[in-house]
């Protein structure tokens, strides 16, 4: 076996045998599903108590409109005055009493209706009551003014322009939303992967220095081989962990939703699953499905993998370069911001600019810059990007990755000669010349 393979296997085994790694792998999904389950369970508990509300309607216009619902039941009180009604409600320990007085003008109701209760009532209940009263009161007011409420309601309609490209492809606002979800999910996934596993790579590059085995290793293998082995080994360990997470969250989520009888959304593979789930419950399932099939699927999937892998490797190699430059993890702070910044910029450009103008200058430029292209280009592709632009961008991305590794290897080789010294950017530049 060659060196790269040996190093890769060692890194991989070393990572997945690590106790904290194993604990994290199995605890995280448990925690995640556990927390979601707990929250769902608790909010369910809260809603369990039924609420009885008594209504005293002296006007006679509203009482019949209140129908019992899941958690709220209404009871109409007849032929008594307000004080009596209050007494009965309190005695029955009901949730509250809605009092609608007799008025001459409908508009007087705006300040004449009262709701009496033990303490301040829940917002949800009040919103429901308000809505029922409001609708009826408005209708009454319109009728009183001599107009037909139903006729007026019929005059309101929504405007939805039909979208079509010049090539005759039908699109829609819904489609744009879907494209956004696709690109956004891809960008988010990449972002998460980089944040979680980038640090792991950095630590693994520092490992040889803290354990002082570096000189033995570096007299046997080339630094570039070592760094590549570490990047790939750690990445594979990361993929393993991620896969276990997805599976565990899926299984646990299903079990949990069975037990609690609620739908628990699994936090992964959001785009596809959610839109599919949406499609089933939504009023426009067919339209969504057509929209999904209208996306350039093959292109999207292929480019997703290329950009995801390329983007991840590029950032991983940057983390490796930091690891190569420092002696201990505490020295890494000063180098972190330059790595996180482009990532954040990419997400901002993706969310704000690409959506406004997918093929504008800003979007176009950022989809070529290797540090931002994985996120920005992935978000642009659903809107249709010429193939040559995609290819140029991918090539740029991978070339930058290779250059970064070379650069990191150079730093690494020189770095071993400088024990215990915190390097500055200026010195790093100088090292490149050695």
């Amino acid at each position: 076996m060659n060196h790269l393979g040996l190093i890769l296997v060692r890194e991989y085994l070393n990572k997945i045998r690590n106790k904290s790694f194993i604990i994290m792998t199995f605890m995280s999904p448990l925690l995640m599903v556990g927390v979601i389950g707990l929250v769902t369970y608790l909010s369910g508990l809260n809603n369990d108590n039924e609420r009885h509300i008594k209504i005293l309607d002296e006007s006679g216009y509203f009482g019949h409109l209140f129908e019992d619902q899941d958690q709220i039941t209404f009871e109409l009180l007849q032929a008594m005055d307000l004080d009596q009604a209050k007494g009965i409600t309190q005695a029955a320990q009901d949730y509250g009493l809605l009092y609608i007085p007799k008025v001459n003008e409908i508009s007087d109701l705006s300040r004449e209706i009262y709701f009496f209760s033990e303490d301040s009532p829940s917002l949800g209940v009040m919103t429901q009551i308000e809505r029922i009263v409001q609708r009826q009161a408005n209708a009454l007011a319109i009728n009183q003014a001599g107009m037909d409420a139903q006729a007026i309601r019929n005059l309101y309609f929504e405007v939805r322009p039909q979208l079509e490209t010049f090539k005759g492809q039908e699109t829609s606002k819904l489609g744009s939303g879907l494209k956004l979800i696709f690109g956004g999910a891809a960008g988010y996934l990449l972002f998460m992967f980089i944040i979680i596993y980038g640090n792991m790579i950095m630590r693994s590059v520092i490992e040889e220095k803290t354990s002082r085995i570096i000189e033995v290793i570096i007299s046997s293998v080339k630094p570039a081989e070592l760094l590549l082995g570490k990047i790939f080994g750690t990445t594979l360990a990361g993929i393993t962990q991620f896969a276990i997470w997805v599976i565990l969250v899926g299984v646990l989520g299903t079990v949990m939703s069975q037990v609690l009888g609620v739908e628990v959304p699994s936090g992964t593979d959001v785009a596809v699953q959610q839109s599919a789930a949406l499609a089933q419950s939504n009023e426009l399932p067919a339209q969504i499905l057509t929209e999904i099939f209208q996306l350039p699927m093959t292109n999207l999937v292929v480019m997703f993998f290329l950009f995801f892998i390329g983007g991840y490797l590029l950032y991983a190699s940057l983390y490796a370069a930091i690891g190569a430059a420092v002696d201990s993890e505490t020295d890494t702070q000063q180098f972190m911001i330059p790595i996180i910044m482009p990532l954040i910029i990419a997400v901002y450009v993706g969310v704000f600019t690409v959506i406004e103008d997918p093929h504008g200058t800003v979007s176009q430029v950022f989809s070529f810059i290797p540090l931002t292209s994985p996120v920005v280009m992935l978000m642009r592709i659903p809107f249709g990007v010429p193939l040559w632009e995609q290819i140029v961008s991918v090539v740029l991305l991978f070339t930058t990755f290779i250059i970064t590794v070379w650069f990191a290897a150079k730093i690494y080789r020189v770095g071993i000669l400088m024990y215990g010294k915190k390097p500055s950017y200026k010195e790093l530049l100088k090292w490149l010349k050695y």
């Binding site: 060692r10 002082r212 033995v216 007299s219 046997s220 050695y434």
Partner: protein, 309 residues
Amino acid sequence: MLEAHSISKSFGSFKALQEVSLVVPKQSVFGLLGPNGAGKTTLIRIINQITMPDSGHVLLDGVPLKPDHIRFIGYLPEERGLYKSMKVGEQAIYLAQLKGLSKSDAKAQIKYWFDRLEIGHWWDKKVQELSKGMAQKIQFVVTVLHRPKLLIFDEPFSGFDPINAQLIREEIMNLRDQGATVIFSTHRMESVEEMCDHIALMNKSKKILDGNLLDIKRAYQSKIFRVGIKSEDKALAWQTLEDSFGATPMVFKSIHDEVQCHVHLPDQMTPNDLFMQLSQLGQINHFVQEVPTANDIFIQSIHQNEASL
């Protein structure tokens, strides 16, 4: 075996090595000596291809160094460690494989060495459970596993107790007898005295002295003799010694009650003449030529070198 030709290396404005040339004969134990910061480690790293020289070149068996040569070299650096969370056996196999051994070959070699050093029961232990001395033994084994032709040790005995240091010393000599060439860099003069047959002395990035240890000692031998004379009349004997031979008093351990001094051999005399003359003063118990130790040569030549700068 190994030749270095006018190697220079600088880091920025700092000159680590200036025009250093060395010849390490086959099957010798070559001591690379010098005070801290003399450039020994840089030279060793160049031989190991960890860094490249700015100018000059290194030949291994007459061939310029190339990447493939690492499998012929075993290097135990001064800054040494092992992967802490890995098991001893696994780790040794991994490191041997990096040096080009096959897995089964590596296993056999490791077993041989572990048995030899009686550390076979450490196989499944993690390195973090071992003491420093134990870890050093593993590092030694890992260095020699792939049967390198050239062994390079940087301060090999630091961290060993005297018994284990002796054990390792014997193993090194053994390897030498089996055909390996050994370069080793150290401050410990007693191990130089005991093991090295060639030395090179470096100071301030330059080589100031090299050659066969015995030749060097011969070159540094003095005309001074350590003399101890048992005499009836000490005062008279001392007077004569001082007047005729310019003797300087000195003290060394002796079972006799005697006049002890350093005597400088006059130019026209042979040691025998001197002995004859001294014997007239009384009974001679000591008559020894002062031969410099490696330590003396080290200190003396460094001082000379500093003075000449």
